[in-house]
């Protein structure tokens, strides 16, 4: 059971890390967010549920694909390089492909094998470790990466959305917020809140970030003296929470932060677990992914040129379709890379082939490289963190091998 001892260490880490800052009231002391010494941006999007790389970046040049999947896959993929073709629900990304801002990596996976559990798979992906029992599976690789970056502060990395992502958890305090968040308390009550949270590090940390961000981001909000007016405002805003979680708003909010001091942003897009009727069930998730990438580009403006986006998933899916025109949990999958800093218009990776004897356990696409290897080289080229630090602290046990040079 993964989370058992994880929380203890996480709690201790948190207590130690914020022991001093917890007492500092955001109202008394203005919080300043330190910046790292780089203007490059990294966006990490976790695709939860196991994206089917073979459908999204389809190896249509291999006739075996159609034999394995008579009832799965779209009819009109857009050609990428003569062998691979892009799912039509991502055709809105073709201009990015043409301009060299979009790339894919194929036949990659984390080191996770055989059990094919979403939840362990995602924990391994976000912890960046080789196995679930690793000593540091309780912290995310982004958090450990920031420890290698001098000047990294609380708002250097940001997770966006209502979930709490393992990707960012760890010794360093990170920031998370949801686009619709706000706080309508009088200054006096905010002060009192500070007092009652003081002795509880978990609440003190979350409360201090919440009050600071609400003040920064919702400057236009007026706290009304009329309770009824205030309640109506709050209800209206809470209702907005329901529609705000779409990828567009997550991406727009991430871009908003990235235009400021934030250098690394992360959020997730779910809906990839296409066990049945994949041809229709994958459409929604692809629409969200496309919207996230196009929104990031448009909202980041000039900053897009200094940005690299990496989308990763916990595993790929079975090569053969299952009994219900869907696919089951597999191993090798694909990554999506985008941004002005990406050396695009390429499908990276060593293609293993689709013959029975080329598959993993005669079932899944054989992974020929590690998701972490591509990510690690991106980080090295973006932020100058050395390969030895990456292999020791950020992705322990990883052999980075040669540089695939995905960053231009």
């Amino acid at each position: 059971m993964g989370y058992v001892d994880r929380s203890r260490r996480r709690f201790l880490a948190k207590t130690l890390a914020i022991g001093c800052s917890a007492a500092a009231s955001p109202l008394v002391t203005p919080v300043t967010f330190a910046s790292v010494n780089s203007d490059k941006r990294l966006v990490v999007i976790v695709l939860r549920g196991g994206m089917d790389g073979l459908d999204v970046v389809a190896p249509v040049g291999d006739p075996l694909l159609a034999q394995y999947r008579p009832n799965v896959g779209a009819a009109s993929h857009s050609d990428l390089d003569g062998f691979f073709a892009l799912h039509p629900k991502l055709s809105g990304l073709m201009p990015m492909w043409q301009s060299g801002e979009l790339a894919f990596v194929h036949a990659v996976s984390t080191p996770y094998r055989n059990k094919r559990s979403h939840f362990d798979g995602q924990d391994i992906l976000e912890a960046g470790v080789a196995e679930i029992n690793s000593d540091i599976h309780d912290s995310g690789w982004i958090n450990r990466m920031l420890a290698q970056m001098p000047g990294a502060g609380k708002e250097t990395a940001f997770s966006v959305g209502r979930e709490s992502m393992l990707l960012l958890r760890g010794d360093l305090p990170m920031t998370s917020w949801s686009p619709e968040g706000r706080i309508d308390l009088s200054p006096q009550a905010q002060l009192m809140l500070d007092v009652i949270y003081q002795k509880d590090p978990l609440f003190a940390e979350a409360g201090s970030v919440a009050l600071t961000l609400a003040a920064q981001l919702n400057l236009d909000i007026e706290v009304s003296d009329d309770d009824q007016v205030m309640m109506r405002q709050i209800m209206k805003n809470m209702q907005a929470a329901n529609r705000f979680q779409r990828a567009t708003s997550l991406a727009a909010f991430a871009a908003n932060r990235l235009r400021e001091d934030t250098r690394i942003a992360a959020f997730s897009i779910g809906g990839w677990d296409t066990h049945r009727k994949q041809t229709s069930s994958i459409k929604k998730a692809l629409g969200q992914l496309q919207a996230a990438l196009t929104t990031l580009k448009s909202e980041l403006g000039q900053t897009w040129e200094k940005t690299a986006v990496v989308c990763m998933t916990e595993f790929g899916r079975t090569v053969r379709e299952n009994g219900s025109a869907g696919t089951d949990h597999g191993t090798g999958g694909a990554m999506v890379l985008a941004g002005g800093l990406i050396r695009g218009r390429r499908v990276y990776g060593d293609w293993p082939g689709l013959r029975d004897d080329q598959l993993f356990k005669n079932r899944d696409l054989m992974p020929t490289s590690d998701v972490r290897r591509y990510t690690a080289w991106m980080i090295r080229d973006l932020y100058g963190i050395s390969a030895s630090e990456l292999e020791a602290a950020v992705f322990p046990g990883l052999d980075m091998g040669g540089n695939p040079k995905v960053i231009s």
Binding site: D5, S117, R162, M192, F203, G207, M231, M235, N237
Partner: protein
């Protein structure tokens, strides 16, 4: 120990204090809550499967008529749509009302624990309509019996079969499989092993998942509920976890025999014991306490009364409260209890009010009803809930709820009646120092003391 047994029982094993409700004491009294008739379900009833399916089917029939340009069906379709929404909303209303007004908080907490353990995410109209039946017919009646019965009832309920794609899994060598060229879908087989019984660390392999997927074929859903279809079942025996089930002819009995064995597997006992301690006591469970409960599970053959007895007799169950954070549902339920919201205000609400009083706050705190993030249910660890955005949503709800239901309450009394000896001096001082009554109540509800258990 600073906290009294009564306080620990109410906050850790129930939904907190409600003014005017007698204390139920601790240990043995808690166990008494789960024997006897389900009074909360009787007081706040929901319709059964047939009524739900009847409503769904008549909606479908009317929808078809309107689609075929039969305008005379339009008013009826509108009515059917309203009735369908009312039914789904009523399910949420009843679930919340039971938790708020039942004096048997431990029983309600157990029902919620098992509903989360056997998570079903209701996607689509039909699954939404029958979801309440899953909670009230598959889960609730079995929470104090044998784990095997609970496992069988939940695994074979239409809601679960639909959610985890079992209805789409056909034996490739069955009559239907051959004729329609259909095959297996291993979703339910995997999650039964990984999430419902042995845990992901359990001693099963991919081959077991595959064999179990074959064994489970034949479970289908019709308008009458779950049915066993021989035509969809894979013929021949399957070997799962080293034991062979069934013979040449497939039968439902083989599936039940396997689930009986799985329910008392040592890995299952360990996993369930662990989950109980994590849910009720601490994100970092005491291995000795887990072992104590696991042993009771094994010696009793998975009798849940014995399992809960083992949990409550262990000293670890009675350490001071604070090791857990209340999940959003538990947070708002205990809040409405503390605010002494009256029964006539909360039962038989209009859909709009159920939306405002329950659904909207839960959505904004990250726990929308019927929509867990995955089949593994809601996260347990405190850090998953007390995030800046999660805490901001709790604050906002605390203000709204205090404004709506806090009339006539003095914040200084409120903090004592809702938290008793758990309220610290700092909290009492802060609440008394508020400028507005509403903010005083909201501060008490937003405090670490009220959010922890």
């Amino acid at each position: 120990m600073v906290h009294s047994l009564e306080t620990i029982a109410a906050i850790r094993f129930g939904y907190g204090f409600r003014p005017g409700e007698p204390d139920l004491g601790a240990r043995d009294q808690l166990l008494q809550q789960i024997s006897g008739a389900d009074l909360a379900q009787q007081a706040f009833p929901t319709p059964g499967f047939q009524e739900r399916m009847g409503l769904h089917r008549s909606f479908r029939a009317l929808h078809k008529r309107v689609k075929n340009e039969d305008e005379s069906a339009e008013p009826e379709l509108k009515k059917a749509k309203v009735a369908r929404r009312a039914l789904v909303v009523n399910d949420v209303n009843m679930r919340c009302a039971r938790a708020i007004f039942s004096p048997f908080g431990f029983r309600e907490r157990l029902a919620a624990f098992w509903a989360d353990h056997f998570t079903v995410i209701a996607k689509g109209q039909m699954p939404r309509v029958i979801h309440g039946d899953f909670l009230d017919r598959a889960i609730r009646p079995h929470i104090a019996g044998r784990f095997a019965d609970l496992l069988i009832a939940s695994t074979t309920h239409p809601s679960m079969l639909i959610f985890l794609d079992q209805t789409k899994s056909i034996g490739p060598n069955s009559k239907i499989g051959k004729k329609k060229k259909r095959g297996l879908n291993e979703n339910l087989a995997r999650e039964v092993l990984e999430l419902h019984t042995m845990g992901v660390g359990g001693s099963y392999t991919q081959a077991d998942v595959r064999q179990l997927a074959e064994l489970l074929t034949g479970l289908i859903v019709t308008r009458k509920g779950m049915q066993y279809s021989k035509g969809a079942a894979e013929p021949g025996a399957e070997t799962v976890l080293g034991k062979s089930y069934g013979g040449e002819k497939a039968s439902e009995t083989d599936i039940l025999a396997f689930l009986e064995d799985l329910a008392v597997h040592p890995d299952t006992a360990n996993y369930i014991a662990q989950k109980l301690v994590v849910h009720f006591v601490s994100d970092e469970p005491d291995p000795e306490m887990v072992a104590h409960i696991r042993d009771a599970f094994l010696t009793s053959g998975g009798d849940l009364q014995s399992v809960y007895t083992a949990m409550l007799e262990h000293p670890g169950a009675w350490v001071d409260i604070g090791g857990k954070v209340k999940q959003p549902f538990d947070f708002i339920v205990s809040g409405y209890r503390a605010l002494n919201v009256q029964r006539d205000v909360i039962s038989n609400l209009k859909p709009r009010d159920v939306w405002r009083i329950f659904e909207i706050p839960l959505i904004s705190m990250g726990q929308p009803p019927r929509r867990a993030l995955g089949p593994n249910g809601w996260p347990e660890e405190a850090e998953a809930w007390i995030t800046p955005q999660g805490l901001a949503a709790r604050l906002q709800w605390a203000l709204v709820a205090s404004a709506r239901f806090g009339d006539g309450l003095d914040p200084r009394d409120f903090v004592l009646s809702s938290l008793r000896e758990v309220a610290g001096e700092t909290l009492k001082f802060a609440v008394a120092g508020s400028e507005k009554k509403i903010e005083g109540l909201a501060l008490a509800l937003s405090s670490p003391e009220f959010n922890r258990r």
